[in-house]
Subunit: 238 residues, 2 copies
DNA sequence: AATTGGGATGTGGTATACCAGGTACGCAAA
DNA sequence: TTTGCGTACCTGGTATACCACATCCCAATT
């Protein structure tokens, strides 16, 4: 045994551009973009100064954010955080449903029994006291359940593509979870999805995932008439 | 009715970055990246000089290409055109199937009778002589048919997301079209999809689109054992 | 002859200066 | 008071210089 056995390559791929991207993304997600008089303008020079880097990495990070749909770059006018309209959110839910239902279909073949057992264990952890559980916590677990299905499909691209929507879905699901009796119903749905997966029934698993997500779609369609309310929770709490 | 109704903002968003992106993308797609000794390295400075712009717009274009998966940027080592493995191509087909089958489902509700009539007219145009038709031409029509379905879903995000895969799918479909009896079978599939749409049968339309695309998946899975052959057609022709 | 260490060279990463287009505001004229 | 215009300033777009790291080559050493 040589010393090399315990040595792994150091992460050498660190770039300011990537770091800046993460920081900005986090900042945007944590700011209340739906507050009526929130400041949505991002100034390249100001950000550069604030993060103590030059404009170059800032610009590349902003370009990436623009590609992900978080900001809009208006040439010579400014960079603005993008408010999602209700319709855009609905489209994201539909697209998510498309990806995850296909993932479920494939998972009935690709996932091992051990995988499904682990998934069931994970889902059950929150089944008994979902209503009383901390919403924030359950919401995270909820998201994770859906991501797990995407992983179990064995198709990385499905997950990667969904991850692009993940940022938005996280906020959406959290918001919707607190409404009416959705948390309890959600748990029941998850169990049914699990059973379909365990039965290796591709059509059924696919359908249940789709219908589960589309219920979120319908819920948003009915209740989120004005999007400005999206960010109000945080505002009122603070 | 005011004059404003017929006035759209003039395209003032021309930037070198965008233009560079298009040019590079076109160039990459037209080069035979699967040729065993193709030069896959892209040099920022060389490209800048060749296109008579500075490195800045080149870099932003390359970053975008990297995000789309066409190139890989290795810090301080170089930018390389990415060869897709068979497995990655298969994943793209699966993801495409997920998006388009959902689109078909929605199209059964969102598309107007006139839309479907136009789609049928379009599909029929190549039905009679698909086998004899110029493959290149039919392949384009084939892609267009699928894109139309995505459009008819009324969900822009579905189409946008699929467009990200479009670049690759185009090459894949074209390559696969010339093999065995796929062209003729493809036409028959399209007609069946159309009939499901016209019957406003969401489940059926969704299933037929999925199975149609997954047939492409299976075909590739079986026949494309070595990916280097992907680019050989052009090489042999030239 | 094989190995190794250092420097030359090339690459993308970053910082910065400058440019052109866009906005806003104030002043002047009607 | 309203309208028109001009200017000052602000923004992102672009060009360019410099930096740190990766690689390759060659000479010095064993």
């Amino acid at each position: 045994m040589s010393i090399g056995d315990s040595l792994n390559p150091i992460s050498v791929n660190f770039t300011l551009k990537d770091h800046t991207f993460e920081v900005l993304k986090e900042a945007i997600l944590n700011m209340n973009i739906y507050h009526p008089d929130a400041d949505l303008r991002l100034d390249e020079r100001q950000l550069a100064e604030r993060l103590a880097v030059s404009r170059t990495p800032i610009r590349e990070a902003l370009a990436r954010l623009a590609h992900e749909g978080l900001v809009q770059i208006a040439p010579r006018r400014g960079v603005f955080v993008l408010r999602k309209s209700r319709d855009e959110i609905l489209q994201m839910v539909v697209t998510w449903a498309a990806l995850e239902s296909m993932a479920a279909r494939m998972a009935t073949k690709a996932a091992s029994d051990a995988d499904l057992k682990a998934l069931r264990r994970f889902a059950m952890r929150h089944s008994s006291d979902a209503a009383r559980a901390e919403l924030e916590e359950y919401s995270d677990a909820n998201i994770k359940f859906h991501q797990k299905i995407l992983e179990l499909s064995g198709c990385e691209l499905l997950k990667t593509t969904a991850d692009g929507l993940f940022t938005h879905m996280k906020a959406i699901r959290r918001r919707a979870m607190g409404e009416s009796d959705r948390a309890r119903k959600s748990v029941a749905d998850h169990i049914e999805i699990l059973e379909a997966l365990e039965a290796r029934d591709a059509d059924l698993a696919s359908r249940r995932v789709r219908e589960h997500t589309m219920r979120l779609h319908d819920h948003i369609h009915k209740t989120w008439t004005r999007l400005e309310n999206l960010g109000s929770a945080k505002t009122e709490a603070g």
